[in-house]
Symmetry: C2
Amino acid sequence: MADVNFTPAELYEAWPVLSQEERVEGFEVLKRDDADDFFLQLSARDRAALLLALPFGERRLWMRLLAPDDAADLIQELPPEERENVLALLDESTRREVKGLLDYAEDEAGGLMNTRYSRLRADMTVDEAISYLRKDARMREKTVYYVFVVDAEEHLHGVVSFRDLLVAPGEKLVRDVMRADVISAPEDLDQEALSKLFMRHHLLMMPVVDAEGRIKGVVNVNDIVDVVQEEATEDIQKLGGVETLEGPYLQVPLLRMIRKRAGWLAALFLGEMLTATAMGQFEAEIARAVVLALFVPLIISSGGNSGSQATTLVIRAMALGELRLRDWWRVIRRELVTGFGLGAILASIGLARILLWQFLFGAYGEHYFLVALTVAFSLVGVVLWGSLAGSILPFILRGLGFDPASASAPFVATLVDVTGLVIYFTIAAAVLSGTLL
Amino acid sequence: MADVNFTPAELYEAWPVLSQEERVEGFEVLKRDDADDFFLQLSARDRAALLLALPFGERRLWMRLLAPDDAADLIQELPPEERENVLALLDESTRREVKGLLDYAEDEAGGLMNTRYSRLRADMTVDEAISYLRKDARMREKTVYYVFVVDAEEHLHGVVSFRDLLVAPGEKLVRDVMRADVISAPEDLDQEALSKLFMRHHLLMMPVVDAEGRIKGVVNVNDIVDVVQEEATEDIQKLGGVETLEGPYLQVPLLRMIRKRAGWLAALFLGEMLTATAMGQFEAEIARAVVLALFVPLIISSGGNSGSQATTLVIRAMALGELRLRDWWRVIRRELVTGFGLGAILASIGLARILLWQFLFGAYGEHYFLVALTVAFSLVGVVLWGSLAGSILPFILRGLGFDPASASAPFVATLVDVTGLVIYFTIAAAVLSGTLL
């Protein structure tokens, strides 16, 4: 442990793999300024863990470094029994603000907003506004670039940037330099919708207003970068058939890791058991023509892979707002063509492979050509079906009010495995009847 | 087409599904101010398409609305033969700036930066700086919140926000209110590394400097939000076994859609053919004990699903910087435990299912218990192997210099399918030798 004398950059880099004791030791030896910066760079989760590991007497200092929204985020990461103790470290007025913020869900506009922002009245002159802000701004957050124009009841009337104030003639009224058509978010707007608004209008800050149009706080674009990253992580994990991990891979306790994965894995396993039932229905056919069994993994995995492609593309397009519920028919039309094309490509490769092996090794008996045809037709059917099922399942889930990203690649693969077997053995029965079957 | 009289919001909403003619018609009927805003909200790709669809005489107007970096992005989206024509629409000095930007790759700091920013000298007083900016800022971009302090050779010495200037005493020197330890990016810094710097330091803007420390431009956080979204989309599509689509789902031409999916699908199909070879090795065993074939899809899909979970988690953790190459041993240790736990859970369910079906339907013959044991042992082995392979493959790919996200869920599933069959039939041979086999 003598080697924890890190520079701030080294400490930040090593943080995920350090033990709790090493973290505290590394943090305590930083110079005061570096430690401030370092603490502000940590995620809310890491800040909460570090705070609890620090001696009780030092905690107040670090909590008071945080803006109310950051303090609220930290407190939400604490175990419930610690929350009151940490709240008590804040000064009276911050504590009141933080408590207000804790009433919002973490993933809505109210839960992301900062309650400290600058305001002006519309009937001030630009010169008055600047000299008011020169006195006022010292008290405010470092992250202020816009000033919001409000009336006595805090109703939002406009917005003006420091830059606009600076370049406007001093005798003009704020009302004449402000932008009146402010894009604002209701308190309960979901963070995904909020981030789309930010991206569309290239905003740096957005005011959050209540139902009466009174400003309650502002959301900063930096928090939106985190939201976009976090939403992508959730979607990726869901697509991989895992419940959202809610923490860095190396830091999630093993038992929770198993729980987060076991749920979906067991559900998929139960679904996949239907393949044993389906195969059981065709047990007599397999006994008569064992050669059929050889191609089962090839056929069903091709369906699963094409389904995985389709569901991935559709789910991501939905998350980006490129596909809406009412586009389902366009998607089906596209996937019909795409699935048929892809199926035909795989069928040609499969046909060539079986004929080649037959020619080289005589591997598939006298009816090899009918076997090859069975495989080829099945591939077209299964890939087409995989593409359709994979693309349409997210629409069905969304239509029913579920998260479309639950149509994970493994989920679609499982669905397609069972039906793929039925397609394969049905085609086999038709093609091979009278010869092998 | 009489119904294209959209409000700007309706037009934006409907944009992805409109035809080229409907877009132009909808755009042309907007009021001038709305049309300006609307044009600036479109993505570079959509702007380029719209521009080419507009009458030649109108194009100059719209090109001149764009900042140099936006103009460069638009030009990169044009077919090569149109680029010179569109460049010619710009005024002389903007054209020179845009040409300079076109020399950078789209996905590095230089390709993302804006060349218009405000600058000051360190030895001005705050009052001088403010009055200089009041004259200067009118000429500049709307998106300026920081002013960069440079010397006569454009070397970057510090940064100061409008807010800091506003609240500082007027007689102080800029050098005394600026922040000297500026976080800056080299011109060729990859956009993923750049976005990590932005997120870590909660920045709104970052200067881009050349090897001699001269400022070349600034990257705005709004572009970083787009980068984060775009990188996530690439990773998600790769994870789903699709080449990056490079366009919205509904707008990618069908032939390109098939090409983007056929490559991986065919490669996976060729790999999956090894399952037919592997099954062929065990053809005699299957003929003797057809019951073994029934569980093949169940076993290999369980391996594929657990591998898909593991690879998804590891690839995302790598993208977020939570896992580095040297963490491979920690990951293996975690996946050994997790894979064994998950395998044991599935094995118990599988065992229960076979015993129950035997009890209810007598489905699996006199050696049902040995069959059940074979399935249970195989599940532990296959799930453990799937978790290990899925988690370690991204490390191997990255170590070899490939993109770890190429270890897509279907890729891992295919790998695990082939080896899973070998595991299953080897265990079957050991457990059932002397009875069924």
